[in-house]
């Protein structure tokens, strides 16, 4: 069973034709796609940064608004890939029968899923690229180190895309996707060192957060980049993300294959 789930699929460049299809749809509907990443940082920065930040002041010697700016990026990386590869992929798979249409061509089901995952990651990268100018405008992130957020968003996005695809592969219905959204994504949004430092949590929970919660590791790297405060611990975060992404990539592809090839 474990061996089956970790089987390395045979992939070719055809996976990019699936990625390209999704990019084309995204560009076709760009008006609805491009507005949220501009609006979202405004809302967070004003409500939390200025609103709440006025009471909090500083965390250590970092202004509160600068503290949460990288978290806004991390949460956007998480949300854009996760929702793309849960609800988005499920709609394409189940309602649109898009996967059926594609696998009638020389593209294999493994390549379809790989294309979906790459697309989820790309979406995170696009959103991060669009948010960054807003954050720069507010003067809450450092340059040029923050530019590294863009390539990092692809890796972080791929992580959440793979997590999402595992849920999509086992969900009995589109409604059941609400469970991971509310029971996994929402708690992470709050408890991953996003809006308050993780050090205020009991030590056991801190260990749990860095060992198990993907967003905690993503937030820590984002924060290191926007504040130009590099620490060796970021290498642990990066290694965690790479290893977990690699394993979940294989597992999600094989789970989807099991679901779709009957």
């Amino acid at each position: 069973m474990i061996r089956e789930l970790l089987t390395v699929p045979r992939l070719t460049g055809k996976a990019w034709t699936v990625w390209r299809r999704n990019l084309d749809v995204f560009l076709k509907t760009w008006r609805v796609n491009l507005v949220p990443p501009f609006i979202e940082p405004f809302l967070y920065l004003i409500a939390l940064g200025f609103g709440l930040g006025g009471f909090v002041g500083y965390i250590g010697d970092v202004p509160y608004i600068d503290f949460i700016a990288p978290a806004i990026v991390a949460v956007s990386i998480m949300n854009s890939a996760f929702f793309e590869c849960t609800y988005g992929s499920y709609v394409r798979m189940y309602y649109g029968k898009t996967f059926d249409a594609i696998i009638a061509t020389p593209v294999s089901i493994e390549e379809v899923i790989a294309g979906e995952l790459l697309w989820g990651a790309t979406r995170s990268m696009i959103y991060t690229s669009l948010m960054l100018p807003v954050l720069v405008l507010f003067g809450v992130v450092d340059l040029p180190s923050s530019l590294l957020l863009i390539p990092f968003a692809f890796l972080g996005g791929l992580l959440f895309a793979c997590i999402a695809m595992c849920f999509t592969a086992v969900t009995p219905s589109i409604d059941a996707l609400n469970y991971p959204s509310f029971l996994f994504i929402t708690p992470m949004l709050l408890f991953s060192g996003t809006f308050f430092p993780i050090t205020v949590l009991p030590p056991a929970l801190q260990v749990f957060a860095y060992a198990v919660l993907p967003l905690t590791n993503v937030v820590n790297i984002c924060r290191g980049l926007t504040l130009t405060m590099f620490s060796p611990f970021m290498l642990y975060n990066l290694a965690w993300i790479v290893i977990v992404t690699g394993a979940l990539f294989l597992i999600s592809v094989n789970l989807m294959k099991r679901r779709l090839v009957v």
Partner: protein, 302 residues
């Protein structure tokens, strides 16, 4: 090559359920080969195995001499598939749908554009070239799917219920296109539960029921061998039934009608009118529908 598709003792099981139960058939180059049967007969499952979408449980299957289990990439490059569901990309225009699909086959853009224009012309959708496909009618969508299945210039076309849910005009247009494709030397495999469709289009067909093939042959031969020349129908009244029993003429009840299969319909009709006092007598040639109902029964399939 002697056969395009060859299946020997092909079986497909889903858990304890046997969807396709030891079927054998061969499709020759250039023919239209039909799978006819009620819902749940195993037609679509058979198509899915041929088009490399579903692995077989046992038996042998070869498409262009290759095994779908090991050569799916090569086989899929040579076939065109018209699925039962309409699974076009709803975000794209008619033309864009063909272009995106061409990309999956690795067809260079310029070649794909040229083919897409020709195919739109072929299925009479040139006027709708730049229209979002959500605005197309059901018949237009089916025609676009047919065009999409042709972007890779397939040697074999597989159609699963190609005219399901279409009005007669739209259906005739699809039939016309399929006949044209056949005349160009294409091999076509289709499933249908429309008997008229099978009778008009297929050179040879199999009738499936409960996962097995009941009979195979040309439509005319099947009618001749399994029903005979003509059918006489009359109303199902006690008087008519008693009279038929009295004369020793075998009959079958079909709803509110009785049917007599005979090689001499004229004589039977005269007897019914003269001796049985039948009011509604009708004679007609036997059709594939009679074969179908005789072999698969008159019970409703869900």
């Amino acid at each position: 090559m002697e056969t395009v598709i060859e299946a020997i003792d092909l079986v497909k099981q889903f858990g304890p359920f046997t969807a396709v139960d030891t079927i054998s058939f061969a499709v020759r180059p250039g023919e239209v080969f039909g799978f006819l049967g009620p819902n749940g007969a195993g037609k679509t499952t058979t198509m899915k195995m041929i088009q490399c979408a579903s692995p077989r449980t046992s038996g042998t299957l070869s498409v262009f001499g290759m095994d779908p289990g090991t050569h799916s990439h090569e086989i899929k490059a040579m076939i065109g598939v018209v699925p039962q569901e309409t699974n076009l990309d709803t975000e794209f225009s008619t033309f864009e749908n063909l272009m995106v699909y061409s990309r999956y086959f690795g067809i260079p853009k310029e070649v794909a554009e040229e083919r897409a224009e020709k195919l739109l012309d072929f299925v009479q959708l040139t006027e709708k070239r730049d229209i979002n496909i959500e605005k197309l009618s059901g018949g237009m969508k089916r025609r676009l799917i047919l065009a999409r299945a042709l972007v890779n210039q397939p040697k074999l076309l597989i159609l699963d219920e190609p005219t399901i849910g279409l009005d007669p005009q739209a259906r005739h247009l699809i039939w016309e296109k399929l006949k044209l494709l056949r005349s160009l030397g294409n091999t076509i495999v289709l499933t249908t539960h429309y008997l008229e469709e099978a009778e008009r289009l297929c050179d040879r067909l199999v009738i499936m029921n409960n996962g097995t093939i009941l009979v195979q042959g040309s439509p005319a031969a099947l009618v001749r061998d399994h029903v005979g020349g003509g059918i006489v129908e009359a109303e199902h009244s006690p008087g008519v039934v008693a009279c038929l029993l009295d004369m020793g003429i075998p009959y079958e009840v079909a709803g509110d009608r009785v049917q007599v299969v005979t090689d001499n319909p004229g004589a039977v009709a005269r007897e019914l009118l003269a001796k049985c006092d039948a009011k509604q007598v009708l004679t007609r040639a036997a059709t594939l529908e009679d074969v179908f109902l005789k072999l698969t029964g008159r019970v409703l399939r869900e």
